[in-house]
Symmetry: C2
Amino acid sequence: MAFYLLERDRDAGRHLASVMAASMDRIGRCESCRTLTEAPLCSICMNPKRDQGLVCVVEGPSDVAAIEQATEFSGGYFVLGGRLSPLDGIGPEELELGRLRQRLAGGGVRELILAISPTIEGSATSHYIAEMAALAQVPVTRIAHGVPLGGELEYVDGGTLAHAFSGRLPV
Amino acid sequence: MAFYLLERDRDAGRHLASVMAASMDRIGRCESCRTLTEAPLCSICMNPKRDQGLVCVVEGPSDVAAIEQATEFSGGYFVLGGRLSPLDGIGPEELELGRLRQRLAGGGVRELILAISPTIEGSATSHYIAEMAALAQVPVTRIAHGVPLGGELEYVDGGTLAHAFSGRLPV
């Protein structure tokens, strides 16, 4: 891309540079859900049609985009901006879990949905948040883990298969 | 492999050929579960410790191996040997679903577990078998579909994410 801009379109390169610089200054985090936004509150938190009684906890702003695109979810979000990882110095403070605790303690949250990747660090993060929600007596759910759609059983790893098996559902 | 055998080890090649020829003649299908076996009944169906009241329906013998390796499942199997695919001329008769119907009608099956790949043809097959089991009043479950373990939400396809979201479970 750099070669293309240098050889063919220097004006576009300058424009891209100025847009990037402006975004770096202008885009901040939503005061409520912590996703990336230009305004103090993001468009989802501002939308009165979204049901803020359902809160979906995700790792990053890209997960918000993925869920908005793939599902009919009409609740609110809480964006962690990472996963708990004590070895990298990322603890509950770095993920601003205090804000989530406040939101849970404030009442009005009927269901906390954990949409965190089922990796080792992600599972630890889910566990921590689930305990936090249990203290605030808010019901917690997590998105299903199992065989991906279109996936052949034969090529699925053993851990996923075991998980899918133990988590089988009535048809 | 062919070059290696021809250049380095022709005796091993001859041995492999004879073993392959023998397997082609000797290995047949289990009379009860239809998996590959040398005996009339496979080792799983012969094992009195396996609970034949739980029956797991899979597409092929390799799925039996995968489930045996990954899970603690101690029931029996029914191996379809494929998926329903009318365009390829594969109907209920080709998968010997009549045998499964008999087994369900015979009573004694407390749970039918569908461990069929969540592809289009696989889902159609699951649906067909679930209806068959419903007629025989046997409870049916299917293995969980969702985000694979260790998978990053960001890289999961939209269909899987939507499915995982709607199939969320209480923590």
